[in-house]
């Protein structure tokens, strides 16, 4: 008896201990559920946008390019009336239903824009009623983000912004008793238990359980985890209302994958699959999203449209059977197509190199944690048109070179930077031939010898002393030896292995003569040249050696762009910028990155160096460009080739864009690369695709244009054979007249100047 009593007592103790352990376990879970659910805020990535395309009468852009931008924005063609986010084309006109968007400077409502094209320009922009619009912004293309762990992307929605039919469909398919159960469904539980007996652990999860699973637990499938999930679901239900649970679920749910970016929540999924706000989802569209809950990969409507359609219709049927939608709604939805937008996938970004630059500039002002969680909106300077042109030109040319083995073995790499010369905005950045690769970014991180790209700095330094140097000052391109203590003698060779005797300064630059340049640079002083380089905006310290004059210095393509930027802007230095504005996720402005200019050089020598660099293209090493651009564009630039032809460069500018192209091998292998044969074609392809504006010489009061007879470098006139018009600083032009001058020529030139005056009057009239 006593023994039986003892057993009973032990049993009771054991039971109590078990109950206590369970209580502790449940309490522990309770604390966890409450802490995490309450403290939990979804981490939202910083969203990065391209520049908005601003349409106005007179804009130089082709209709095809505007359509490409609209497609990239996910605009449908044709679209349905009453909605936004579509366009219609009729001949040379576009009707665009522009979406609403919150810009840095305020919200713009959805509206109709009618654009008329005339050749490669916009002729007129009107609103829906035919009234002229001075300026119409298209919302900027999203170009990626800075993502939280796991590259989770989401756009938060309130339950009130989700259409009722979506919730009905979700409940009909996933959890019919959601509004009445306590976190679990006993019958489903029994079924689940039975399935354990048969060895197959499966389903029966309520919405609450699914949320708990995604929120707190790892995806392993054990009995213990199933039990924990059950307890936590009950606790969640005990503490929170159905609305809170449902809203969190709709934001948490995983609904697909876009390369390395995970699509979470109904808000983002509505954009990702339909290019819409969740509130605008139709019965059929929301049913498709609900269908994907069970298996976003399995029912991916873009990859498995048949399977997705079948499951969507199942969702619709179940919703109809529960009476949540009418028979009419059901019939209509069932006959609808999938309606998925054709938007190309982009992963975390289609332009990783540019986003990397943006990220680095942001890190100076923001915490990494905030960038990955606060949902900041970053408005950048990227011009998708320029970016695509740069990527294409680089990839195509490299593929061609590799195939022809024109420059040694395959494996050639490259980088491109494009900027707006007047503002310093970076419009495009390509970090390698595979522009989608998220790794080594040659445009920012590859520091390579720049070769002859440094020469403009040498000549600019010289031309800043008008009493000593003009564009026609003869330079000696004879053999040159530079002796300095503690270093071997330096004897620069010319590219063609010849010396050219006395040549005018502008010709020495145009033909990139090394001996003449080395002599000139050492004459004016290496330190002075380095000072010019610094004033041009290069922050890197260059070694004060004579060899630096011929480009032994290493720079990244972005640094080269900064240096040439200052030249292209007539001596006004603007730090290169990739960001315009930052706002909070609600659109409250946080910061602007304004245009900044600093006058680094007086205007006169800038006119001269720019004219000399135009000479490089007109008659020098970059003559090849004439096959790409008409002479009227007057592009200015410089080729660069380094020792043993390891690096090929071309840097130059037109009236509205500056671009730097570098080609070379990552292992610094000697190629057979030259700036003119390898880099220049890439540059030419890019500019030809971008409708460049002619480059007008900057104006300066102290500069006069003088006809020069190239035979003798004396003052000529327009009637002299081969005469060129060159800028001179006041008083520095030759006075002696060439024998070729004539009375007729003088008369013609007087007329010529009148025409010039008329032109500038017209220019003023048209504000050009």
């Amino acid at each position: 008896m006593a023994r039986r009593g003892r057993i009973l007592r032990y049993f009771t103790y054991a039971l109590l201990v078990a109950a206590a352990a369970l209580a502790v376990y449940v309490l522990e879970l309770d604390v966890r559920v409450r802490n995490e659910f309450e403290g939990r805020r979804f981490a939202l990535p910083a969203r990065i946008y391209a520049r908005p395309l601003e349409l106005h009468a007179g804009l130089r852009i082709t209709q095809a390019d505007v359509e490409a931008e609209l497609r990239e924005l996910g605009y449908k063609n044709p679209g349905e009336d009453g909605e936004s986010g579509w366009y219609r084309k009729s001949g040379s006109e576009l009707d665009i239903a522009v979406r609403a968007f919150i810009y840095w400077d305020g919200a713009e409502p959805a509206r109709r824009v009618h654009a008329v094209f005339d050749g490669a320009r916009v002729a007129a922009v009107q609103d829906g009623a035919g009234k002229e619009l001075p300026l119409a912004r298209l919302e900027p293309v999203p170009i990626g983000g800075i993502y939280p762990a796991g590259n989770e992307d989401r756009v938060l929605v309130r339950l009130s912004e989700v259409p009722k039919h979506l919730v009905d469909e979700l409940i009909a398919t996933e959890d019919r008793k959601f509004y009445t159960h306590m976190g679990f469904d006993p019958r489903a539980l029994v079924r689940a238990a039975a399935s354990i007996a048969t060895g197959r652990l499966q389903g029966g999860s309520t919405i609450t359980q699914q949320l708990v699973k995604n929120f707190f637990l790892t995806p392993e499938r054990t009995l213990r985890r199933k039990f924990t999930e059950l307890v936590m679901a009950i606790l969640l239900e005990a503490h929170y209302g159905k609305v809170e649970i449902l809203e969190t679920y709709l934001n948490e749910i995983y609904l697909g994958q876009d390369r390395d970016r995970a699509i979470h929540g109904i808000g983002l999924a509505a954009h990702f699959y339909f290019g819409k706000e969740p509130k605008d989802l139709s019965v059929a569209e929301s049913a498709l999203l609900v269908a994907m809950v069970r298996g976003p990969a399995l029912y991916d409507p873009r990859r498995h449209p048949d399977r997705a359609l079948e499951r969507r219709n199942l969702v619709l049927r179940e919703t109809r059977d529960r009476g949540s939608i009418t028979l009419e709604q059901y019939t209509m939805a069932r006959s609808a197509g999938l309606g998925v937008s054709p938007r190309p996938t982009m992963g975390t970004s289609p332009y990783p190199a540019f986003v990397q630059l943006v990220h680095r500039q942001l890190r100076r002002d923001y915490d990494e944690k905030d960038l990955r969680s606060e949902g900041l909106r970053i408005f950048t300077t990227l011009d998708p048109r320029a970016q695509v042109a740069a990527e294409r030109a680089l990839a195509r040319r490299i593929a061609q070179y590799d195939k022809e083995r024109r420059f040694g073995q395959p494996g050639l790499e490259g980088a491109v930077v494009i900027t707006d010369p007047s503002s310093g905005e970076v419009q495009a950045l390509v970090g390698g031939k595979d522009a989608r690769y998220r790794g080594y970014n040659r445009a920012i991180d590859a520091a390579r010898p720049i070769g002859s790209l440094l020469k403009p700095a040498v000549y600019l330094t010289a031309l800043s002393e008008p009493s000593r140097y003009t564009l026609i000052t003869p330079l000696d391109d004879g053999p040159f030896v530079w002796k300095s203590r503690g270093a071997p003698d330096w004897e620069p060779q010319n590219y063609d292995r010849k010396f050219h005797g006395r040549v005018p300064l502008r010709v020495a630059l145009a033909r990139s003569y090394n001996a003449a340049t080395a002599r000139l640079g050492t004459e004016i002083g290496v330190e002075k040249v380095l000072d010019t380089v610094k004033k041009l905006g290069v922050g890197r310290e260059l070694r004060p050696f004579a060899s630096t004059l011929l480009g032994a210095a290493e720079m990244s393509p972005l640094e080269v762009a900064q240096m040439y930027q200052t030249i292209a802007a007539g001596g006004f230095r603007s730090p290169l910028r990739a960001i315009r504005e930052v706002t909070t996720q609600e659109g409250r402005p946080l910061q602007r990155y304004p245009l900044k200019v600093e006058q680094a050089f007086p205007p006169e020598p800038m006119v001269l160096i720019t004219a000399a660099m135009q000479g490089v293209v007109r008659e020098g090493t970059a003559q090849g460009l004439n096959a790409y651009l008409p002479a009227e564009i007057g592009a200015a630039g410089k080729t660069g080739t380094t020792d043993e032809q390891r690096d090929a460069w071309f840097a130059g500018f037109t009236g509205d864009r500056l671009a730097v192209v570098w080609l070379g091998y990552d292992d610094n292998r000697a190629g057979r690369l030259s700036g003119a044969s390898a880099a220049l074609p890439v540059w030419g392809d890019i500019m030809a695709a971008l409708l460049p504006q002619p480059l007008e010489l900057p104006s300066a009061e102290g500069v006069e244009q003088v006809w020069i007879d190239p035979q003798n470098n004396l003052r000529g006139d327009s009637q002299c054979a081969g005469a060129v018009q060159l800028p001179f600083m006041q008083g520095s032009a030759p006075q002696e007249r060439s024998p070729c001058t004539s009375v007729a020529g003088a008369v013609a030139d007087t007329v010529d100047t009148t025409v010039k005056k008329t032109k500038s009057w017209w220019e003023r009239l048209f504000g050009k």
Binding site: P134, P589, P630, E632, A688, G767
Partner: protein, 131 residues
């Protein structure tokens, strides 16, 4: 192979750009300006300049600067835009920028003496304030 028509197109465009020398009607959509009105400006630029003026007058200087930068993206060689931006920076007591921007305006001012005089005033005022 596709290069040829493109180049051709540029030639046409370049032709248009220098056409005014020969006579009026540079493009069908750009009617000759009424003689009494001042220089004809792109209406987009005119609109942005106007809103910049309104914003600056109301003390909304960052907004004014933003509008002017937007206008400069359309007409980077318009000296009036650079000047107005210089004036906004002066109002913001950013004297270094005010001076540089006025100098930038000068580089596009050509023979416009009034414009140059106003730029000089901004430059002088900025220098005086910095001292």
């Amino acid at each position: 192979m596709r290069r040829r028509p493109l180049v051709f197109l540029f030639l046409i465009l370049a032709g248009c750009a220098s056409a005014p020398e020969q006579g009026p009607a540079p493009a069908p959509v750009e009617p000759a300006p009424p003689p009494s009105v001042g220089p004809r400006e792109n209406i987009a630029v005119a609109g942005l300049m106007e809103s910049a003026r309104t914003d600056a007058a109301a003390g909304r200087l960052p907004a004014a600067a933003a509008s002017l930068e937007r206008a400069l993206r359309i007409e980077p060689r318009n000296p009036r835009l650079w000047q107005q931006l210089a004036r906004v920076r002066l109002q913001q007591a950013d004297y270094t920028q005010a001076e540089s921007l006025a100098a930038r305006s000068n580089s596009f001012a050509g023979g416009d003496a009034a414009l140059r005089a106003e730029n000089q005033r901004i430059i002088d005022e900025s220098r005086a304030a910095r001292r």
